[in-house]
């Protein structure tokens, strides 16, 4: 397995898009930290990167990469290698590359400028989000043979989690504002990895506001060790489930 991961990782790291991604993240983070005398703006920039850019780049790049390596997959398949191993190697390679890009681009400025619980939490969550969207890319690319369709699915997935899901939640909140729905809302956030990530960061970043009335409900759940563990497990589930579905499909796919 290691040999294949190494080959894939080297191939991805040579890719100019990953280099550009790392560079853009780095420029964005460093400059936004340097612009203001307090680290708040920088942290907000990195937060938006985590909630917006990281998912987009992770899912789009991975999907395109998977389609482009269909030849490579075919070549490997005629060799004595398990299908599972090929798919897993691709997954590890891509995840590692995306995490590495995020870590070098955004993680290092984060740790340098905000070496506290907020910074560490954002770093972990950013890495997890990268992997989650790589996993979703695997799912969307296995759904269809058509590259254009696959990329379309990837973009729709991203759009849904980054934007539409929150819109639906907002709509629900106001529709059912007369009912005690706070607890149900805690459950609903589990349905979006970006929301899970955002709330974890929020609890560290806006701790003062989160101690208020409604915030307290989230704080009581997500802020405890149990809540923290649960939300990280949920994020891991967001990695595992899409990937294993794609793995099952890949095992049965004709090439």
């Amino acid at each position: 397995m290691n040999r294949i991961i190494k080959i894939i990782l080297l191939d991805i790291l040579k890719n100019k898009i990953v280099l550009a991604y790392t560079l853009i993240l780095a420029v964005l983070s460093w400059s936004s930290f340097a612009l203001e005398d307090n680290s708040a703006k920088g942290i907000l920039t990195v937060l938006n990167v985590i909630l917006f850019t990281v998912p987009l780049v992770s899912i789009l790049f991975s999907t395109i990469y998977l389609y482009n390596s269909s030849e490579f997959i075919e070549l490997l398949l005629s060799q004595p290698i398990k299908r599972k191993k090929i798919w897993l190697s691709l997954f590890f390679g891509l995840s590692l590359a995306m995490v590495l890009a995020f870590f070098i681009g955004a993680g290092i400025p984060l740790l340098v400028n905000s070496p506290d619980s907020v910074g560490v939490m954002m770093l972990i969550v950013g890495c997890l989000i990268s992997i989650v969207f790589v996993a979703l890319a695997f799912l969307s690319s296995i759904m269809t043979r058509d590259k254009a369709k696959g990329i379309g699915i990837a973009i729709m997935t991203w759009l849904y989690f980054a934007l539409l899901f929150d819109g639906i939640v907002l709509f629900l909140l106001f529709q059912f504002s007369d009912y005690p729905i706070e607890n149900a809302m805690v459950g609903i956030t589990a349905l979006s990895p970006i929301d899970l990530a955002r709330i974890q960061i929020l609890l560290h970043l806006d701790v003062s506001a989160m101690m208020g009335y409604t915030g307290a409900i989230f704080k009581d759940f997500f802020g405890t060790t149990v809540g923290l563990t649960v939300s990280f497990l949920l994020l891991c589930l967001w990695v595992a489930v899409p990937f294993f579905i794609s793995l099952r499909k890949f095992n049965r796919k004709d090439l």
């Binding site: 080959i7 191939d11 390596s69 005629s78 060799q79 004595p80 090439l255």
Partner: protein, 240 residues
Amino acid sequence: MIEIKHIHKKFGKIEVLSDVNLSCKKGECIALIGPNGCGKTTLIKSILGMVLPDKGLIEFNGKTVLKEYLYRENIGYMPQIGRYPDNMTIGQIIEMIKRIRNSREALDEDLLHAFEIEKMYDKKMRTLSGGTTQKISAVLAFLFNPDVLILDEPTAGLDPLASEILKEKIIKEKEKGKLIFITSHLLSELDDLITEIIFMQDGKVHFHKKIEELQTETGEEKISKAIAQILKKKKDEQNH
């Protein structure tokens, strides 16, 4: 060596293979022929595990190949259209496959030298012509000295010289007692190579005969003519 029993495969609604039965042994050189879209490539890919049949069994040395992968160590495959990662050079591809196979046995580098591939090690795959790509595919198929060689249209894109080199190599391997599968449209090319013929049509095996049988049955020396005669006969029967 390879047993194929009652294989069925559908792509959507189209039945690509229906109830295919075959049995191949060591030392045979089998030509798999038939019109376009008759299921030759699908059959080959089924043997390689790249296409998973809906029904039926494929056995390699008495063991089913379903969900197995190690048996592929004994197969060298040369695809019809070799597709390789664009960004890699020839050298990298060969190096990579060597590393993946991680074989400790001596490599068969005859073709590598014969095609003078080493001179082009630094060329990227995307810059190569179809013929050169075919050469790479051939080199890779023979490189690890496999017991079975599966060659999908091996001479299609090759120039006459390379084609001749490859043919000689195939004969050499056949004499070593290997099982060789060849698909081709160019029947004339196969004359001096093959020992058996499988003719497929519409996903079915029309016949599977030894060359001598075929020749005595039809009374033709040339394989192409023999087959043409058989096809004609069939057509006549159908018209009746």
